[in-house]
């Protein structure tokens, strides 16, 4: 669900794509866009599961303050995906609890 054409912002001119892996599956992302944007454009809304109740969480603030959107990125846990841009070949995993990628 991308906003390709916009009445005020015009056409989205970002054409270059990169490939990232999310939980083992390859998806296309726009070069330089935030990880969460690439996920949202591909219909992925769950970033992590909570420690105790194992409940799903998605973005809440979108500007790096609330940490609800953290995921494991290239093996590093607790990366705020709303303010971290994608890179070609990036490996992204749903985060379980406070830091493991597989709960």
């Amino acid at each position: 669900m991308r906003v390709d054409d916009h009445i005020i912002l015009g056409k989205d001119e970002r054409k270059k794509m990169v490939e990232i892996k999310v939980d083992g599956k390859s998806i296309q992302a726009k070069k330089g866009e935030m990880i969460v944007a690439a996920l949202m454009a591909n219909g992925i809304r769950i970033n992590r599961y909570t420690v105790k109740k194992k409940e799903p969480r998605g973005i809440f603030c979108g500007v790096g303050q609330c940490t609800d959107c953290v995921m494991v990125v290239n093996g590093k846990p607790n990366v705020r995906t709303c303010i971290t841009p994608v890179e070609d070949g990036m490996i992204i995993e749903t985060q379980y609890g406070v830091g493991k990628s597989n709960g």
Partner: protein, 367 residues
């Protein structure tokens, strides 16, 4: 340890305008911002601003950001991006976690003559059953997604709150191609400007006043919302429940100043609900109760981007004056004009409460 004349924490509208104002008089200015680009929340504000031409009315927030960044560059403002202020210490020392070109991090201690805190505000949450489900988010978050990241946070959306943020973001969600099934408002009347409300109503979005949300339902993310009427004591009225099929719920319930750094430095605060809660207080130069520490923008009371810009100019001018880059007489003239514009921005039924609260700040700062 690095020495700088002025360190400004936060590169949003207030921080940048303080930087430009001080730097154009000759002051050495460093702006520290935790994001990958400065400009703060202006980049998601694709609507035209209100006010008179002196307040850049009719210009979109996004264009104001571009203009400010150009000016900052022109006057030689140094900007550290992806860098976080982790503390302010005695004798005006700021500790900054700086991200270097190779993405490694370094802790820098900066000795400043003046520090400006321009940290802004964060969105308030509203808690209800199911509010932690993916798909429930701040209205500002949704606005960032559509206008900056250019992705839709949902196809069918329910907006909570009919203040100006709720109304404007509703309209922008429509512009981005989403459907907004309704705006709910717990108060018996719409919170924001009539002109914004009329715009979304003309587009077919119903505004339910005296309504609240009871529950968000969904297995892995939001699938539906239950709303109901509230009585004059804000209590839900049984039997009035209505189910709305939505995949996102956005919350526009006001903002709260980000005062941690100011608190850390013992800046005196006042509780002013009209300005978002606890706010550090300041004098007519935007100087806090700690000499040499200034406060501008939403951190010292949630208002609008145009008031933030003016407060930034005020602090920038006062700093240039204190560091002897402009004369007392020149500064007095400039500050008088800025105050005039600020007072104009705080007029009318919406501005009056903020004006009174701001006057309260100025008075309590003298005690």
């Amino acid at each position: 340890m690095i020495e700088k004349e002025v360190v400004i924490i936060g590169g949003g509208p207030s921080g940048l305008s303080a930087a430009v104002e001080a730097a154009k008089r000759g002051t050495e200015v460093l702006v520290v911002d935790e994001n990958l680009r400065a400009g703060g929340q202006l980049f998601k504000q694709i609507h035209k601003f209100f006010g008179s031409s002196a307040h850049r009315a009719g210009i979109r927030g996004i264009d104001i950001a571009i203009e400010l960044l150009k000016e900052a560059e022109k006057y030689g403002v140094e900007v550290w991006l992806n860098s976080v202020a982790i503390g302010i210490f005695k004798e005006k020392k700021a500790a900054i976690k700086k991200t270097l070109a190779d993405n490694s991090e370094k802790l820098e201690i900066i000795q400043a003559k003046k520090i400006v805190i321009a940290t802004g505000a964060s969105e308030n949450a509203v808690s209800f059953k199911g509010w932690t489900l993916p798909g429930v988010m701040g209205a500002g978050a949704a606005q960032t997604m559509i206008n900056v990241n250019r992705v839709l946070p949902g196809k069918r959306i329910l907006m909570i709150g009919s203040g100006n943020v709720g109304l404007i973001v509703t309209y922008q969600l429509l512009q981005a191609g989403a459907e907004v099934v309704g705006v709910i408002e717990a108060a018996p009347q719409i919170g924001g400007y009539g002109v914004h409300a009329a715009k979304i109503r003309r587009a077919g979005v119903p505004i339910y006043t005296s309504h609240t949300i009871q529950e968000a339902i969904g297995k892995k993310s939001v699938e539906k919302a239950v709303i109901c009427k509230v009585n004059d004591k804000w209590q839900p009225i049984r039997g009035t429940e209505k189910i709305l099929y939505v995949d996102a719920i956005t919350i526009a319930a006001g903002l709260k100043p980000l005062i941690e750094l100011a608190m850390m430095h013992d800046c005196k605060c006042s509780f002013l609900p009209q300005l978002g809660g606890w706010v550090p207080i300041h004098d007519k130069n935007m100087e806090s109760t700690n000499p040499g520490i200034y406060l501008v923008g939403d951190v010292t009371g949630v208002e609008e981007a145009n008031t933030a810009l003016e407060e930034g100019r005020l602090a920038g001018t006062a700093i240039a004056e204190a560091l002897k880059y402009i004369s007392f007489e020149d500064a007095r003239k400039i500050k008088k004009e800025i105050w005039q514009r600020l007072n104009e921005l705080r007029m009318g039924p919406f501005g009056e409460a903020r004006m009174l609260a701001k006057n309260n700040i100025l008075t309590s700062c003298k005690i």
